[in-house]
């Protein structure tokens, strides 16, 4: 079966532009996570969905970051007015249940803000 997919794989944005990053989780997975991974760092939690409900958005660095999962499947992470410090790999992961420990990661979207 298909794993978690993310698109685009690479995105170059000029400072000030808005970007939208898409995540297609594994079918049937209830939980969905977004992470930001800066160069040389580990993944840092951004936000968590259980079905369509965003249960934790404590990791979103500013109000320029917004995530949604309206039908409990595909999720979009939107960054408004991108800044250079937003340059990173954005990882999406899904897991089967609310308490599942195993997350399945997507390939990531590498965002470069120039």
């Amino acid at each position: 079966g298909a794993g978690v997919s993310q698109s685009p794989r690479y995105k170059v944005a000029k400072r000030g532009q808005d970007v939208a990053l898409r995540c297609d989780p594994i079918s049937g997975h209830v939980s969905l996570f977004w992470y930001q991974q800066a160069l040389g760092q580990g993944p840092e939690f951004l936000t968590y969905f259980q079905n369509e409900a965003q249960l934790d958005k404590s990791g979103l660095p500013s109000d320029r970051f917004f995530a949604e999962r309206p039908e409990g499947s595909v999720s979009t992470l939107k960054i408004q007015r991108t800044q250079q410090e937003d340059s990173a790999v954005y990882l999406c992961a899904s897991s089967y249940g609310r308490l599942s420990y195993e997350q399945y990661f997507g390939p990531g979207t590498r965002l470069t803000v120039t």
């Binding site: 760092q41 580990g42 990531g108």
Partner: protein, 106 residues
């Protein structure tokens, strides 16, 4: 607050030598700890978790609550073990360390 520390950014060992990747955590409760691995040009994937106390690909990790450590060990390193390794703690959300890049020299 930093909850997971991996003190070594880079680690090189010779094939057949023992390897230990260090992980320390800060958490006062009962931690749920994991090791994730990312092979070259592959996705981040779960290697093992402390609760299962299993050996995966020859790797084991023991939780030491006294030292707040969860080091990953393998007695005889193989070339295919070369990868990026991340220690992670789950407390609601997951907290990842900064990772250790392991290179096994043939």
């Amino acid at each position: 607050a930093q909850r997971v520390t991996q003190p070594e950014k880079l680690l090189s060992v010779f094939k057949g030598a023992p390897v230990e990747l260090k992980c320390n955590y800060s958490y006062s409760g009962s931690p749920e700890l994991f090791w994730y691995v990312q092979y070259s040009r592959q996705r981040l994937q779960l290697l093992l978790r402390h609760i299962s106390r299993e050996s995966i690909k020859g790797f084991t990790a023991d939780l030491n609550k006294g030292e707040t450590s969860f080091h990953l060990k393998k007695p005889f390193a193989q070339e295919e073990d070369s990868a990026m390794y991340y220690c992670a703690l789950r407390r609601g959300q997951f907290y990842f360390g900064t990772g250790t890049s392991l290179t096994v020299i043939p």
